[in-house]
Each structure stands twice: as C-alpha cells, then as structure tokens.
Subunit: 290 residues, 2 copies
C-alpha cells in the first residue's frame, strides 16, 4: 500500500502527541486529528491535517488510529466514551494506544477491538519531548504479532528503538518498568543538586564532573541543566509521572512485590501534585524539602 | 621534572586502587606501594613497583602520596595511625586522598599537611571498576589551587574528567552529590528489573528498549546486564555505598536538608549490609524485597 492509502487517525496533540503526529504527516500519511483544545491542533492543520470533532469521527475516517493523551480518564473517553472510537459504525483495523495506561486497560482495549475484527496495540514511549521532536523515542509494544508488524513502518517514523515485548499489556508493563527508572533517576538528580547548592558548590562544575561518570543518567544530562537555568517547564508533567508511579506501584502490589524506593518516589510526586505542581516538569522535584 | 624524578606513593590496591596505580607505573613514575593484603600487590610488584611495609615507610620514600582505601577507619590509620603518613620524619609535598571520605576529614587532613609544609588534596573518583581500568574516571577535586595544578598531570593518567570543585573538602562533597545519583539510579534499576521479572517480561527485551531512552543511566547500562547474568560480584561494594550514603545523609543533615529519597536509599543499603551482603556489588540490591 502507498502511504497516501493509509489514513492515520490521531487523538491527543499535546507536548508529545503533536510532534509525533507531525512526523507521520511529513512522511506523507493523510492525517485525521482531534485534541481537546483545538488551538493546539493549528500547527498540524496548517500542514494539511483534517480536523475531526470527536474520536468517533476519526474512527469513521481512519485505518490506523493512535491515541496519545495524558490521563487514563481521557483514554477511557477516547475509546469507550459516547463520542469515542467504539461508538463509530466502523472500527479502524488497528488501534494504537501510545499513552501510558494500566496493562489491564490495554487488554480490555484489545478485547473490545477484537469483537470488531480489529486489534489494539499498546505502544507507550520513552524519550520525553526531546525524543518526540527528534523521532528518537523508544517504543514499548504489546499486542498481536501480525498487527504489530503491520504498524511497524509507522512506529519507525516516531522512534529509533522499537521492541515488541509480548502480547497485549506487555508494552504498558514495560513502560511502568521504565518509569521506575525515570522517577528514581530524576529524584536522585534533584536531591543531588539540592545538596550541591546547599553545600555552596558550583552546580555547573559539579555537573561537568559527575555527568559522564557512574552518576550518569538521561535525567542528569537533560533535566539538571534546566534546573540550573531555573526552568521548571514541562518536558514531562509531574501529574503524568505521579499517575505512572501509581500504576507501577499498583502493578507491583498485584504481583506481590513491595518496592520501597518506588513507594517513596510515588509519595514524593504525590506531594508535589498536592502542592499544586502537577503542571510543572518532573525536574520541579527540586521544590520538595525547601 | 622528569617522570622518573617524581616518586609516587600509593596506599590501597583494591578493585579501584590497583588498576589506578598501574596506570601511573605504566606512565613511567617510580611507585612505592602498600596495601593491607600483600598478595593483592603482586601484579604491580611484578611490574617493578617497590613494596613498603607501612604508609609511614611510603611517606619516607615518595613525593606525591595517594590513598585509595575503602573505609574511613582505614584512611584514619593510613594518615594518622602509629605507622601512618604523619608518623614519618618527612612528609611528601602532596597527599592525595582518592578514597571517598567525609568533607571534614579532607579539611583535617589538609590542615595536618600544612603544618608540615605540604598540601592535602581530596580527589575522590566516579566511574567504577570499568573507569579505573580504562582510565576514564571522573575526578572531583578539592584543595589548594597550586597544589592541584601540580598534581594535574598525575590525575590525567587516571581519568578523563578532572574538575577542581573548590577548596579542601569540595571534592568530597561533590563525590557525595555523585553518590546520591549513583544510589538512586542503581536502586531504580534494581526495582525496575524486579518488576519486569515478576511480570514475566523478557528482561533483556525490556533493557533493549528502555536502555537508550529517558530511563538511561550508567547503572542501567553497566549493572543491569550483570544482574541478568546473575552476577552480583562487586564492581563497587555495597559496604562502600552504604558508607557513602551515611556520609551524604549526615552532610545533608548538617546543612539542614531533609532528603527523603536519600534517606530511603540509605536504609535500603543498610538493610543489605545487615543481611550480610556488604561484600557484594551494589547491583545486589535486587536481593531486597524477595
């Protein structure tokens, strides 16, 4: 099939979704888009994408439908809501949830898709806003092997590390595993910088020295410089990481695992959320323990 | 001065100290060495280093004396003990403590050195056993600027990122900042792998996907593969990281900082120590929460 013949539906044009959808548009796929706040769609509409009023309307017009929204409640609405995907008369043959969701949601979504002769793939990503813009995301995939293979050329427009982890839900579980690392690396970086500043070290000289050694992390390389500039704007929202840590802690608990650091990290990000920092970037954990 | 004219003293030939001292020997500096267990010195003695029975004896014979030992009590003995450096009739003009010690120990050491017309430099490192072997360590330096400049050619044989952080103690404080990141990245990696295994994911496929993304860390790249091979041997001993986290937590407390993740990480490594895992590598935190 030619790219022009594969109509892409895309729901969710936030800090991650917008650059991702644009990569598919740039690659030549016809795009049908929806997001809660229409103004956020303007850049991609200007590039030729077609606006749809609802996810239901996108389902009518697309062959592969992607969702990249922030919260589980939104995803529930996108797929199962009264104007959602499953309210449409037809179903795209592949539904791809790139949001971070509960593994059990992925399985429920796939089951619903299969009753309509379609497949749902869970394909959450890692790499942040930088990865979304540069199409260097890691994509963690769960779902039917043949459906995943069909979607592969699309994933290749979005990321550089695309690994199928198993059946439905395995992508989401892998993402939760990823988020455990992300949260710990980020909180470690934040507490480290707080200690450096309080000890009156030069934080930039500290970063220059520790950045490439055993302390190295994506968070230290990408988020610590933002902290030093006083930039707490979101690459990744605290409210989203707090949600991911809730999901990860719940998943661990269901598996009979008591992960002490994960629980503490979850509490840190819940504290930040409760203090009103949910729409700041995850590096705003430097605001804890002031 | 020619390298042959600068006699190097080296105390401590463990998993870090031995490869580091060898780099200086290979570079052509005459070496005078001591370590608690003489058998550990055999490789470097075979390469031409001279054995000394005590740190005191090394102090008699060297111009620049390095210490790279594991625990604060050993360092106390190396410098201030009855057969220690300061028991010698002469003092090397530069003492370099590359162990991770309390910042206040660094200041005490420098004060003692200065009464003998010498300088002490605190120069702890990061980069683990791999960095020691490949001479790619990061070196965090505190001390008199002129003395640090004189030692710089020696540091350049050991590491690739050498940054003076300030006066005496600033190197040690920077190292503690580093260890906050190291501990958090390592514990995050361990809990992440425990979750992946318990969820019956393929841990290697998970690593392939999350390794290069926002979850990336030195720990994930270097220690997670060891965990998957069942290799809990020390690159870096749990007893040393536990000690470093005690120092970091104490330093934070003295500065009026209450760092929640650091406290929890310290408790995790104390638990491992108390369970008898002190001589395993830091990746043995996967043995927690079994």
């Amino acid at each position: 099939m030619q790219r022009q013949d594969i109509r892409i539906g895309w729901v969710g044009l936030g800090v991650m979704g917008l650059p991702m959808a644009r990569h598919l548009g740039t690659a030549g796929y016809p795009l049908f888009v929806h997001t809660r706040t229409r103004a956020k769609a303007e850049p991609i509409l200007a590039e030729g994408a077609t606006w749809c009023a609802t996810p239901q309307e996108i389902a009518q017009s697309s062959d592969v439908l992607f969702s990249m929204v922030g919260m589980p409640s939104e995803n529930e609405e996108v797929f199962f809501g009264s104007a959602g995907v499953f309210a449409a008369k037809r179903c795209p043959s592949i539904l791809v949830d790139m949001s971070t969701s509960d593994p059990s949601f992925a399985r429920r979504l796939d089951a619903a898709a299969q009753t309509r002769g379609a497949h749902a793939i869970d394909a959450p990503v890692s790499g942040g806003d930088v990865g979304a813009r540069n199409a260097t995301l890691s994509i963690m995939i769960g779902g039917d092997a043949a459906a995943c293979a069909r979607a592969q050329p699309l994933f290749e427009k979005l990321g550089t590390r695309i690994v199928r982890q198993g059946g439905s839900g395995a992508g989401q579980m892998t993402k939760l595993v990823n988020q455990v690392c992300v949260a710990m690396n980020t909180l470690g970086m934040c507490e480290a910088l707080m200690l450096a500043k309080r000890a009156q070290l030069d934080p930039q000289a500290v970063l220059d020295c520790i950045g490439p050694g055993a302390a190295a992390s994506w968070s230290l390389a990408n988020l610590a410089p933002r902290v030093l500039r006083g930039d707490l704007a979101p690459g990744f929202f605290i409210e989203h990481l707090a949600k991911d840590l809730r999901l990860a802690d719940a998943a661990a608990g269901e598996l009979g695992l008591d992960l002490a650091m994960l629980k503490r990290a979850r509490a840190c990000y819940e504290d930040l959320l409760n203090a009103g920092h949910g729409r700041k970037g995850t590096q705003a954990a430097v605001l804890l323990h002031r």
